[in-house]
């Protein structure tokens, strides 16, 4: 283990006031514990990356934050409010949007219907305005706004999924493996958009297997291994850490 970033001797990265605080979170599928007591914080306006291999518990963590799963122990606090027993549809109202793994767009609905569904919980009159904003973010969506979303390519679907998540006007956007199965070019495009969204003031929790891209963007990063946080640090620290380079970046 490298000295600089080992959890025990790492000073917590200086960060903005915590928007989301996850503390000693444990989640089980029946008898199998998928998340074994992880803690992390996401500060206002930050991009935070959770990286790790398959089965590290990244997706489970996101699903628990968005209320689709219930923790067996630990707490989740969002803007000072405990949300670990709030139903999923109310969590969206609180301002957390989840762009799920595998995109999960609604294939038979048109692009526009998909986007409107992202605004399902909203009843204000500005949905049309946000629709335009989503189209500006991803012009291809406007071109194909009346097309069934299932006919899209993977990258277009990912754009749609991100646009859809943004339609709820989230304070915190959680992206689960947005680069999965995309071409390098498309991946770059998605990552640029993440940066754009951050610049606009959206706080982002990013889960990725593609550690390099994720860490480059991140203010803070956490490395998960079989349900536990094994390393944490700023994005730059983790990128240059020998352990991370060996384990996740495929370098010797």
């Amino acid at each position: 283990m490298s000295h600089a970033v080992h959890e025990s001797d790492l000073t917590r990265p200086a960060s903005a006031p915590a928007m989301l605080e996850v503390k000693d979170l444990e989640v089980s599928y029946g008898k199998i514990k998928a998340v074994k007591g992880i803690s992390f914080t996401v500060g206002q306006g930050e991009v935070v990356s959770l990286i790790g291999t398959n089965g590290a518990g990244k997706t489970t963590t996101l699903r628990t934050i968005s209320g689709l799963l219930r923790p067996s122990a630990g707490s989740i606090t969002f803007q000072g409010k405990r949300i670990d027993d709030v139903p999923a549809h109310e969590i969206v109202v609180l301002g957390i949007a989840h762009c799920p793994e595998g995109r999960r767009i609604f294939p038979q609905m048109t692009v526009e219907e998909n986007l409107l569904l992202g605004a399902f919980t909203r009843e204000d009159g500005e949905i049309g305005k946000d629709l335009q904003e989503a189209y500006e973010l991803f012009p291809i969506l406007q071109e194909r706004s009346k097309q069934p979303a299932g006919t899209f390519s993977g990258g277009e679907q990912q754009m749609l999924a991100m646009g859809r998540a943004m339609m709820s006007r989230p304070k915190l956007l959680m992206l689960d493996e947005p680069s999965m199965g995309l071409s390098p070019l498309m991946m770059k495009r998605i990552m640029t958009t993440v940066r754009t969204l951050q610049d606009r003031g959206t706080t982002i929790l990013l889960v990725e297997q593609n550690a390099q891209a994720a860490l480059r963007l991140a203010n803070k990063g956490y490395v998960l291994e079989v349900g536990k946080v094994v390393l944490q640090g700023t994005g730059r620290e983790l990128l240059t850490s020998d352990d991370v380079r060996k384990a996740y970046l495929g370098e010797d």
Partner: protein, 568 residues
């Protein structure tokens, strides 16, 4: 109905001969109707007199007229219309279908009069015409077609077409309901199916759907006017009106079920119980001698109570069970339907409170009387007598209008979008903030509410409520109507309900094989057209995901939809 297609080389060699053959064949069909078809004047509504066409002769003439029309659109005075409609495909379908129809007619004559020897030259001429048409149409080359999306609309013409189409439906329905001879009844259905297929293959209905989209309100209005006029064509006869009211109740309930199954995607196998609970409330609060509740509020109140009771039952059964889905939900709702029936069977004072008189049910329910209008008495309007069932027909028409309104409003609303999302991917919908449980419960309750409304009227129309009216088979038939007609559409369910209620009434001779035939029909439908007779475009896409062309079409249709919005 398609014969194997010809090799292109053969078609090119003889392309010039196809059109005259097809035209002559069509003309022969048309003329054959004017000749005598049979020696025996006592069969099939007398088809023995020349220049006095009846039943099968008329049908042949209609097919011939369609053929002449299509042929003249291909080449000749109407050839400019042929730029839009695929006349070649239409003629081919018409040829095969006409042959089928004429053979059916000859079989009918032979079986009724005892042998083919009874067929007169008219019948043989029709056969020759159909053969010529079939062969000729094979050689008619297809023309380059324009897309309807580019068609310049003439609104007056389009509305005239809608009105004519609706008038044809009214006339056809009145005619076919008046036929008691099963041969003629089936013959009409065959003729209608062939004409429909030919026009469909020619692209006529694609055009109609474009027209319908441009004039949706006109179409809806025309449909209701036709439905409203229908009792006036029946000349005070109650036999057909009784069937018509049953169709309406069945259709109203099926549209309610379509909210649950077609929109929210919840399989409900006990839906008839909600109709039943409405009917029992209607019966109990009806002043019938055997009614168990002495209170008789105004009927509108009874309707609301019946609907609320049904909706409450929906909530009670839904809240614990809607957490399961798919097969489990189907089993639970099936059990609920049976529990309802058995409860009605047993609430007779021996095993609990006396609410339903047990197996005897509540007979002798008096007719409705709204604002001094007695539904039991015949009324005369414009000199035409309208019987008891006509009165119920009108109130049911109002009800079904209301139910269709609720259905379409829900379908196009935010709630409807939520339902579609749940149907497509429940977990993703949940992540988007859709309250999946709440929305599913709402779908259940709304469906139950509408069925309850229909039930209160049904109790008065039937004059009795008894447990054996609400057996599982009825739930299965409702579901069959939804699946057959097309999940998630109104028109489809109306057609499905009409087929499932009307055919057994008119074709008494096969009543013993009813279930067998419906089973077969459903199996064939699932194989050939799983999305139902009239499919919502989205459903169609669900069943044919790889169909690029369809995806394009869906997109094009949406563009048409969107155009007026963009213009605003």
């Amino acid at each position: 109905m398609n014969l194997p297609t010809l090799p292109d080389t053969l078609r090119e060699q003889h392309s010039g001969k196809g059109w005259p053959l097809a035209l002559v064949g069509s003309l022969l069909l048309l003329v054959s109707g004017l000749l005598s078809w049979s020696f025996d004047p006592s069969i099939l509504g007398d088809i023995s007199i020349a220049f006095w066409p009846a039943s099968l002769q008329l049908f042949a003439m209609i097919l011939g007229a369609v053929g002449v029309l299509l042929a003249l659109m291909h080449r000749g005075p109407l050839h400019r219309l042929g730029d839009w409609f695929d006349t070649a495909l239409g003629l081919r379908a018409l040829g095969t279908g006409s042959l089928l129809f004429v053979v059916f007619s000859l079989v009918a004559i032979a079986s009724e009069a005892g042998g083919l020897v009874n067929v007169n030259p008219g019948g043989w001429l029709a056969l020759a015409g159909a053969l010529l048409l079939t062969v000729g149409a094979r050689f008619v080359p297809q023309r380059q077609l324009n897309s309807f999306a580019k068609a310049k609309a003439n609104p007056v013409l389009e509305i005239v077409v809608i009105v004519l189409g609706m008038a044809a439906i009214l006339f056809g329905a009145a005619y076919v309901l008046g036929r008691d001879d099963p041969w003629i009844f089936v013959g009409f259905l065959v003729m209608a199916a062939v004409a429909f297929m030919a026009l469909a293959r020619a692209g006529f209905f694609t055009w109609m759907s474009h027209v319908a989209q441009r004039h949706r309100h006109v179409l809806t209005l025309a449909a209701f006017v036709v439905a409203f006029l229908f009792p006036f064509t029946q000349d005070g006869s109650d036999a057909n009106m009784s069937i018509a009211t049953q169709v309406l109740i069945f259709a109203a309930t099926a549209i309610g079920l379509n909210i649950v199954v077609g929109l929210a995607g919840l399989l409900d196998l006990g839906y008839i119980a909600f109709l039943g609970s409405g009917a029992y409330v209607g019966a109990m609060m009806s002043n019938a001698a055997s009614a168990t509740i002495g209170w008789k509020p105004p009927f509108i109140v009874v309707m609301l109570i019946g609907a609320c009771v049904a909706a409450t039952l929906g909530l009670i059964i839904g809240s614990p069970t809607l957490r399961v889905s798919g097969d489990y939900l189907a089993i639970v709702t099936l059990a609920f339907g049976e529990i309802f029936r058995l409860s009605m069977f047993n609430l007779d004072g021996n095993n609990g409170p006396d609410l339903t008189n047990g197996p005897n049910g509540i007979p002798g329910i008096p007719d409705l009387n709204l604002f001094g209008f007695d539904f039991g008495k015949p009324h005369t309007v414009f000199g035409i007598q309208l019987g008891r069932f006509s009165n119920y027909y009108f109130i049911l028409l109002l009800l079904i209008g209301f139910i269709i309104l609720v259905f379409t409003r829900l379908n196009n609303s935010r709630i409807g979008r939520g339902w579609v999302a749940i149907r497509e991917d429940e977990r993703a919908a949940e992540a988007m903030g859709v309250n999946t449980f709440g929305l599913k419960l709402l779908g259940f309750a709304v469906g139950a509410f509408l069925a309850g409304l229909a039930g209160t009227i049904k109790a008065h129309q039937d004059t009795a409520a008894s447990p054996d009216q609400y057996i599982f088979l009825e739930s299965a038939f409702l579901l069959a109507a939804v699946v057959l007609g097309g999940m998630g559409t109104v028109a489809g369910v109306l057609i499905g309900a009409t087929i499932l209620k009307l055919l057994p009434e008119k074709l008494r001779f096969f009543s013993e094989y009813r279930l067998l035939l419906f089973g077969l029909l459903l199996v064939i439908m699932m194989r050939v057209r799983p999305e139902g007779l009239i499919a919502s475009k989205r459903r169609q896409l669900e069943f044919h995901e790889d169909d690029e062309e369809l995806a394009q079409e869906v997109q094009a249709d949406h563009l048409i939809d969107a155009a007026p919005e963009a213009a605003r």
